[in-house]
């Protein structure tokens, strides 16, 4: 039997590290967004300086999260990257074909509720999760 020596910093180990890093950055962005959304009302009584600081913090952490996500995707192997790319493509398409009609229906009061951006974010998250799961199972 020809033995293979496992690499020092192998693929699985690198991806695990990147996933953990991404998890923390996502959490930090969620916390920064919550601070920006709720802080003006509950923490600093709508003081403009603090609100602008919270917005700046949210954007800065958001940029960090994007960079970490970009690095995560760059370090995936070619099949995983293909699955991610397909999922992102489907998500972008669904966001466009659902977002524009939702906005139009809101403008003409066809729907009985306000077309909040949160609905679109939820739809995008679900679409990405389902298409990613499908892609992963397809190549299993």
């Amino acid at each position: 039997m020809n033995q293979l020596r496992p690499p020092e910093n192998g693929y699985q180990s690198r991806i695990r590290t990147n996933v953990i890093r991404l998890f923390y950055w996502n959490g930090a962005w969620g916390a920064a967004t919550a601070l920006m959304a709720l802080g003006p009302k509950f923490l600093w009584n709508k003081a403009l300086v603090f609100t602008l600081l919270a917005v700046g913090l949210d954007v800065a952490v958001g940029v960090g999260m994007i960079l970490v996500n970009k690095r995560y995707i760059a370090e995936l192997d070619e099949l995983q990257r293909k699955v991610q790319l397909n999922s992102m493509g489907i998500t972008l398409g669904v966001a466009l074909i659902a977002g524009v009609p939702l906005s139009v229906m809101d403008a003409y009061h066809v729907i009985p509720f306000h077309a909040d951006v949160a609905y679109l974010l939820i739809l995008m998250s679900l679409t990405f999760a389902v298409s990613n799961l499908y892609g992963t199972r397809r190549y299993r």
């Binding site: 020809n2 293979l4 690499p7 693929y11 699985q12 070619e78 299993r140």
Partner: protein
């Protein structure tokens, strides 16, 4: 595209996980290549060839190669 990855791996008694580590990809990718669900890129095919000490064409085959050869042979005798 067909390939001999599973046979070559079995000859060396390597697991999919070991081969994945050696080629710096996920185990899922090795499985997808072995089952013909995914064709590797040229750099990955080169890495596999180097690892097994073979030429790329000894590991990966164009599925149409045989049918193309048959067509040529048929034409020759017509």
């Amino acid at each position: 595209m067909k390939n001999q990855l599973k046979v070559l791996r079995a000859e060396r008694d390597w697991t999919q996980a070991q081969l994945a580590d050696a080629l710096d990809v996920s185990r899922q990718t090795i499985n997808a290549i072995e089952t013909g669900k995914f064709d590797p890129s040229l750099p990955l095919a080169f890495r596999a060839a180097r690892l097994f000490g073979l030429r790329i064409e000894e590991i990966f085959h164009d599925e149409d190669r045989r049918s193309l050869a048959t067509e040529i042979k048929k034409d020759t005798y017509v």
